[in-house]
């Protein structure tokens, strides 16, 4: 059951691999700056002239940036801790997606179906 995790006995704590090089951190930082600056620029200047398209682009950039941080800063890969870090991360990501998407989905339909009277303010629901 835990044999994979025991594969790291040879490493003393503090000597685990995958804690990044200066190059890895700088690469992650450069990517993060770009992936942060672009969405702020898009929203603050309205460069795309289309709310829907802007929303899709900034959500996509956020997902990419989360992956960049996970790899470059958190050093999640299939080797660290015998793969258990990646497994836990994937599991958590699935649960996070289910909780957020599921809540939005259910509550959106609840709002649509249960609204007792026309309320104009809800017309712009995402």
């Amino acid at each position: 059951m835990t044999e994979a995790a025991h594969g790291h006995d040879a490493h003393a704590p503090g000597e685990m691999e995958g804690h990044g090089s200066r190059r890895g951190y700088l690469l992650g930082f450069a990517l993060s700056v770009a992936l942060t600056a672009i969405p702020f620029w898009l929203v603050m200047t309205g460069a795309l002239h289309d709310v829907q398209a802007t929303a899709i682009v900034i959500i996509a950039l956020a997902i990419v940036q989360i992956l960049v941080h996970t790899v470059c800063f958190l050093h999640v890969n299939s080797r660290s801790e015998g793969g258990w870090t990646l497994l836990a991360y994937t599991f958590a990501a699935v649960i996070v997606l289910i909780v957020i998407a599921g809540s939005l989905w259910i509550m959106h339909h609840l709002a649509v179906n249960m609204m007792p009277m026309p309320m104009t303010a809800t017309g712009s629901e995402p």
Binding site: T2, A5, H6, H8, D9, A12, P13, G14, M16, H19, G20, S21, R22, Y25, L26, G28, F29, S32, V33, T36, P39, F40, V43, M44, V51, T54, A55, I58, I59, L61, A62, Q65, I66, H69, T70, F73, L74, E81, W84, T85, A88, Y89, F91, A92, I95, V96, V99, I100, G102, S103, L104, M107, A121, T122, S124, E125, P126
Partner: protein, 206 residues
Amino acid sequence: MSDTAPEAPVFYDTQDTHHHAPGGSTMLGFWIYLMSDALIFATLFAAFGVLSTAYAGGPTPREIFELPLVALNTAILLVSSITYGFAMIAMQEGRLGGTRLWLALTGLLGAAFVGVELFEFSNLIAEGATPQHSAFLSAFFTLVGTHGLHVSFGIVWLVVMLVQLGQRGLHPENQRRLMCLSMFWHFLDVVWIGVFTFVYLLGVLR
């Protein structure tokens, strides 16, 4: 009478007798904690997502969010990520002075982040956009406030580590603690990506 002679009892050692370095599983355990913390934030994001248009006649995100301030805060947190990275590199190279210098810089940036956030909160409250005003504002203050509280506790931890490094240096236990704090700090930056995208940017777009 059985036809096989009773055999001497055989014992199987089911206990794990491998030698473990003390703290060898701390990193994975702390990682699991972070993943459970991610679930706390997931529920807060879900609540905010559901309530993000429940203005109750109060202010809307476009009226109250100041994107330049948010951009400043985002930049501060992003730079603090790379300074913590440099602290880890200095630690790997065994440079105590460099580690402490980069850690202190990270702590100052973290304090600046919390300061800007408190300034933003006090502005909002002064404008009448209090958590009590609408479900949108309650969800906003809960989500962003929980993140800010995490950063504040991260700063406390960081100060404790600076004291420990000053007293005992870069021994393996302190290295392990610094690696856990590293994960914590970078994890908070990941959560902030979600905050500035889904709360501030999408809020202003809406």
